[in-house]
């Protein structure tokens, strides 16, 4: 829907081509793009505005105008500020108490019941706690049944009173029961409610007063839009909750709601839901979230690294060959050697947005590259230029010549074919190429000075 911030900023600074100088106007334009990226990611309107102002101040303070890489510098400021806002340290939950009580709240359908079960599973299996789930949603059809089924799957007891419509009383009785049974942690699932529903908000407030929880958690759907600000504020006013759970992050939402909630209530995000399965619960990584909101993978560090290492003219030629599907083993070898220069390959590949997923299974280790080099060097020039002709007998010869085996040769040829596909797919919007273009321009700029 929206290009990533990096390429938008690129545009802002492209405007100045021909002037050889970056002006205030370009900075303003860049900041506008930052703000747009945030709004497109569903960051609250005012929050996006305040944030952009802060970046502006920093940019002026650091004198971005004079820098050689204004785009990168702005991205870096944005990124650092965002990460800072997301919260530096990971904050765990408090599970000491007799029993410790965790109250789970939020809007309808945000994922409270699922999260309650996930947390129970985590505490039971990873922290060795005895856990009890409490069915505090007496309204939604089959809510109790849902919790019971989930609890059964993870072998955790549920406290429910199917006939009772008073969640305050149910919660209190549950805790007494848990005490008797020597349970370590009690997790209370509650009904979804709107922040403007006075009666229901009074109810949750009464539950909280009755059970004095160690942790009150606010569960919010990562796809939430501008309303995240209102809702988080209201829930926090009434409950003064201790932490936030961000669900459904396995989707493709940018998740700007995370920033809104953090900024508005200043409470840590303690967990993220990343799927419907019971194990699909993760701790929160502020930096990752910042990247996600901006839509840029770890592009910042990649750009920096790539610029240091890759020869731009080579890249341009490569780009042309890729788009014409002429990429062959000679290019492959060249690339390989260049990448090797850049350092840890696994890390580097992981920095390219989208690449992480693709290469996840193909375990890259540096030794493998030695063999690959040997195999390619054992090919005839003709074979390198036209890999299609490498048939069975040629493969045998190559295997022998390189001191490897048929299996490895086959794998490389297949990998090559796959890489070619991947590279072609990425050659259109190739981040490396963009980095190259940028570097070229910077060089050009320097020359003009």
């Amino acid at each position: 829907m929206f290009d990533n911030l990096s390429s938008k900023l690129e545009q802002s600074f492209r405007l100045i081509k021909g002037h050889g100088r970056i002006t205030e106007i370009n900075i303003a334009e860049a900041l506008k793009n930052v703000r747009r990226a945030l709004l497109n990611a569903d960051v609250g309107f005012e929050i996006a505005r305040d944030f952009t102002n802060k970046v502006k101040e920093k940019a002026i303070g650091e004198n971005v105008l004079k820098s050689v890489h204004p785009k990168q510098q702005i991205i870096k400021i944005v990124h650092d500020e965002l990460t800072k806002l997301m919260g530096g340290e990971q904050v765990g939950i408090n599970t000491t108490g007799d029993p410790a009580v965790i109250l789970v709240t939020g809007l309808q359908g945000s994922g409270k019941t699922t999260f309650s079960a996930k947390l129970a599973y985590l505490l039971k299996n990873k922290k060795n706690k005895s856990v009890m789930l409490v069915a505090g949603d007496v309204y939604r059809p089959a809510a109790i049944e849902q919790l019971k089924i989930l609890a059964q799957q993870i072998n955790v007891p549920v406290y429910a009173e199917d006939w009772n419509k008073n969640p305050v009383k149910i919660s209190k009785s549950a805790i007494s029961d848990a005490k008797l049974k020597g349970i370590d942690v009690v997790i209370i699932d509650t009904a979804g409610r709107l922040a403007i529903d006075k009666k229901m908000m009074r109810e949750i407030s009464n539950i909280k007063k009755a059970v004095t929880p160690q942790e009150t958690l606010f569960v919010v759907d990562a796809m939430t839009g501008q309303d995240a600000v209102n809702t988080a504020k209201e829930f926090n006013n009434i409950l003064n909750f201790d932490g936030v759970v961000l669900t459904k992050l396995d989707g493709d939402t940018r998740g700007g709601a995370a920033l809104s909630v953090r900024t508005v209530v200043k409470k840590p995000i303690k967990f993220v839901g990343v799927g419907e399965k019971i194990e699909a619960l993760d701790v929160f990584y502020p930096k990752r979230m910042a990247d996600r909101i901006l839509g840029m993978g770890d592009i910042v560090s990649f750009v920096e690294k790539a610029q240091e290492q890759i020869d731009e003219d080579d890249m341009r030629i490569l780009q042309r060959r890729l788009s014409k599907n002429q990429f062959d083993f000679n290019d492959f070898l060249k690339q390989l050697r260049q990448i090797k220069k850049m350092g840890n390959i696994k890390d580097l590949v992981g920095m390219i947005p989208g690449m992480k997923k693709i290469v996840k299974d193909t375990d890259i280790n540096e030794d493998v590259f030695k063999n690959i080099e040997a195999i390619i060097l054992s090919m005839t020039p003709e074979e390198r230029e036209n890999p299609k002709i490498i048939n069975g007998s040629r493969r045998q010869r190559i295997a022998k010549g390189s001191g490897t085996n048929m299996q490895e040769v086959n794998r490389l040829i297949k990998q090559f074919a796959d890489t070619r596909k991947i590279m072609q797919k990425y050659s259109g919007g190739n981040k490396m190429t963009k980095a190259m273009r940028n570097k070229r321009r910077n060089k050009w700029k320097r020359r003009r000075k």
Binding site: R36, Q146, L194, I196, G225, Q226, A228, K248
Partner: protein
């Protein structure tokens, strides 16, 4: 069409109540921005931008609205806040109007074969699919239709039980299998029973799924395909449920669900809260899919036929 005729007046209050909080805000800001001015200035546009974006209308659609408004103001004259407000509403309604005619889209009984009219409900997790089915079943039944429900969410814990309760509340039959059963098989069975029993309308519930999960989207296509074996034109309606509090991701939802199942109607839920569901304006504009219903509560009667004018009014009154 008599169906849902009772809706508008009674339910409007509730919708208004939910929207009230932000409405006052909107009005105050806009009034302040225009007070004593005779042309649309930057200050006004800034305020308008804030209002629209804060309703989840999104940047692109907001810019479109502002462009249209400016063009209109350049052409016609406006007189004070009222004139301007009216223009603004017109322009927003304009984005919805090209494809918003409930009378025409509500063609489920123009179905001239003996087959039931089949509605398949799709959407991401927790948006209100199952609840909306309960509400629809209730309304259709009240309108004298013979309704069948199919519990094709065989994945989520207690999804079948939940729909079962709604079927009882609405007083309509349900076809179901065990959790873990093949959803396509449930849909198939439902259509078969419905057809044998001369049902008028069949509503198929499906499991919530995020649109970026290919295998789950493929599963939807399969459910859809299998139903055709019983009713060749089924599903006649693929109703995408969007949560009114969802932000810009709703675009991607509309896009991907349309790709997998050819969505031809939208329902927006949870508009009884403070969220305004503005994202549907852009979606309707871009994908030309009409918004048919809105959900305004958790009770069986809390469903309203989407009314473009009321929706836009509620944003600016």
């Amino acid at each position: 069409m008599a169906l849902f005729g009772i809706f508008s007046k009674k339910k409007k209050e509730k919708l208004d109540k939910g929207l009230k909080k932000t409405k006052e805000n909107v009005f105050k800001k806009l009034t302040r921005a225009v007070a004593g001015k005779s042309k649309v200035d930057d200050n006004f546009l800034d305020n308008l931008e804030e209002i629209l974006i804060s309703s989840d209308i999104g940047i692109d659609t907001t810019l479109k609205i502002i462009d249209r408004l400016e063009a209109r103001v350049a052409k016609d004259k406006y007189f004070g806040i009222n004139g301007l407000n009216k223009m603004l509403k017109d322009e927003i309604a304009g984005l919805l109007s090209e494809n918003q005619s409930i009378e025409n889209t509500n063609n489920w009984n123009s179905n001239n074969t003996n087959d039931p009219y089949v509605i398949m409900i799709v959407g991401v997790n927790g948006v209100g699919k199952t609840t909306t089915i309960g509400k629809l079943a209730h309304q259709f039944k009240k309108d004298g239709k013979k309704v069948y429900l199919g519990a094709a969410d065989t994945f989520r814990a207690a999804a079948v039980e939940q729909l079962d309760i709604w079927a009882k509340r609405a007083g309509v039959p349900i076809v179901k299998q065990k959790t873990g059963a093949d959803p396509a098989a449930v849909a198939f069975d439902t259509l078969k029973s419905a057809k044998t029993n001369n049902a008028d309308i069949v509503i198929i519930d499906t499991a919530g799924r995020l649109h970026n999960k290919k295998h789950l989207m493929d599963e939807l296509s399969k459910i859809k395909r299998v139903m055709k074996k019983i009713v060749p034109n089924a599903p006649h309606e693929i109703l995408l449920i969007l949560d009114g509090s969802t932000g810009q991701n709703a675009f991607e939802q509309a896009k991907q669900f349309t790709k997998a199942t050819e969505v031809n109607a939208i329902a927006v839920t949870k508009l009884d809260g403070t969220a305004k569901g503005g994202v549907v304006i852009g979606i309707s504009d871009q994908f030309k899919i009409p918004v048919k219903y809105i959900g305004i509560g958790e009770q069986i009667r809390d469903l309203q036929v989407f009314n473009k004018k009321e929706f836009v009014d509620s944003l600016f009154k």
